[in-house]
Amino acid sequence: MYTVPSHINPKLFDADVSGEANRMGFGRGLKAVGATNDSVVALCADLMESTRMIEFAEAYPERFIEMGIAEQSMASVASGMAAMGKIPFIASYAMFSPGRNWEQIRTTIAYNNANVKIIGAHSGVSVGPDGATHQAIEDIALMRVMPNMVVLAPSDGIEAEKATLAVTEFKGPVYMRLAREKTPTVTTRETPFAIGKAEVYMERDPAHIESVGIITTGTTLFNAMVAGKRLNEKGIGASVLHLATIKPFDEQGVLAFARNHTHIITVEEHQIAGGMGSAVAEFLSLVHPKHILRMGVHDMFGQSGTLDELFKHYMLDADSIVQSAERLHG
């Protein structure tokens, strides 16, 4: 029998599993740190409501700066505020920040090691109907390659809320990607969270000889959990490792996980080039070479559709993960 930690959502596999968009958790978290830390300031590029910065803006208007649609200037204004001792959070859609303002982030935030927290909402294909122009599926690659930058992709609202608290305490530049659409909540208040720590959310059934380790990040955690459950029930021992932090990379956690499985599958709503799966492959190629199947978007743009349609089309749904794992063992 596979096992899951007691601290994850007990109704995870029920039909009525609860859920929310993880950006909602960010909104709660930012409001909470606003209450406890006077240095926290928030800047938004005309997307206050959808990035959920509105909660902070309404509670602490004197520490909220409406930038207008000016992501490039927003990154550098935040750098200037950090130079004066503030902890600025900047929010827009990931396509525009860090998409449009990458160089400003590189020169004025990362190179200066400025204590700025970059929130990229509406990342991934799950943005849905807005279509390919608004689906940031390159942002992990863009930020992972930048020195000094921490890269986070929480799965659900509860985790995003904890991550927001954690990055406030962490000194240095952070990028956190969030999603627009509601996804099932995997974690609970009791689930541990630490920057740089990967968490095993499913341990494979040790009775099965064949095994697959599924490594995921962000919103695809739930699909990975459902796929893992089905695989264990079908006779393939499947485990799930969640990388809420992509950088710094949890080398020990990933190595221990990889050693314990015949095959590795990575799943993310991101290009397969440069994303979390690439980070896993880069690391394991050095210390524990093995076959790794990277699931994600294959060098193409997204399109309009519902979250379910798009996850299915780009093979990020539970069925696709199960089928891929079965083929590996075929």
Partner: protein, 298 residues
């Protein structure tokens, strides 16, 4: 702004000349780098660091200092030379410009060298950072006396980010912000009027709700007066369009855009051969040929 006596003006002009000599020496030592902008802005930088700014070279992180942001990082030879002459680090270190292991990179890195308020080089981001600093200060102390200065190039104004920032500075009425534009009329590919015309520039700034002044960027007293007036403006941010002569101080290099990105020894040869360029420049500066004018004292 504190009044400049005739003696003060002469002392500042002499200091600017020393800084120009350092700029030439460091560029020659580096074998690459920008000549026109640093020489052209030497008077502005001298006035700022030796008269205007509240700062302490012995305590670069002094919290109460004014903030000076260099946005067009490629003119950093003038910033490095000015900081060294002001006592932030040894003047001898200027000779390490652009060399392996040096704290004086080809474009400034804040984390490497004391006295730098930011890293710059990619154009257009300095004004935003100055705005961020001023906004942070306003949150902490709405009545703060700190002043925030940002130097930009005129070619740099081609960058879209600058106009994002100008819009915000006007919106937020950042009265303690003074932007100094190095209006030398050149950029890498030619004259600014040909590459991307900026005029009517003063009207553009005014329409973004800035207080606008235009001054001779080599006249210490006029510059000082303009900065004083900029500080007195209490309902708007200020911009000073400083009309400068590219390569000011070395007659044979002046007003020629080909000196934008070349050091002495690698510049255009039609007026002075490459192997004589450093010598000619240093001789002119060291003999003070007409460079100490006392501005409008006479």
């Amino acid at each position: 702004m504190q009044y400049l006596s005739d003696t003060d003006v002469l002392a500042l002009e002499k200091k600017a000349n020393e800084i120009r000599i350092s700029i030439i020496e460091m560029l020659v030592s580096a074998g690459s780098g920008h000549t026109a902008g640093p020489l052209g802005m030497a008077d502005v930088f001298t006035l700022l660091y030796f008269h205007v700014l509240k700062h302490d070279a012995k305590s670069p992180e002094w919290a109460e200092r004014d903030r000076f942001i260099l946005s067009n990082g490629h003119i950093c030879p003038v910033l490095y030379a000015t900081l060294a002459h002001a006592g932030y680090f040894p003047i001898e270190e200027l000779q390490t410009l652009r060399k392996f292991g040096s704290r004086l990179q080809g474009h400034p890195h804040r984390e490497s060298l004391p006295g730098l308020e930011t890293s710059s080089g990619p154009l257009g981001s300095g004004l935003s950072q100055a705005i961020g600093m001023a906004l942070a200060e306003r949150i902490d102390d709405p009545y703060s006396a700190k002043q925030f200065y940002c130097a930009t190039g005129d070619g740099e104004l081609n960058e879209g980010q600058v106009w994002e920032a100008l819009m915000q500075a006007g919106k937020e009425k950042i009265h303690n912000l003074t932007v100094i534009v190095d209006r030398n009329g050149i950029q890498i590919d030619g004259f600014t009027k040909d590459v991307m015309p900026l005029e009517p520039l003063a009207e553009k700034f005014a329409s973004f709700n800035f207080d606008v002044q235009e001054v001779d960027g080599h006249n210490m007293r006029a510059l000082n007066d303009a900065i004083g007036k900029a500080q007195a403006v209490y309902s708007q941010p200020s911009v000073i369009i400083a009309h400068t002569i590219p390569s000011k101080g070395v007659g044979l290099f002046e007003r020629d855009f080909r000196w934008h990105g070349n050091p002495p020894g690698k510049g255009p040869e039609d007026r002075v051969p490459k192997d004589k360029q450093a010598e000619v420049a240093l001789r002119e500066l060291r003999t003070l040929q007409g460079h100490i004018t006392g501005s409008d004292i006479h």
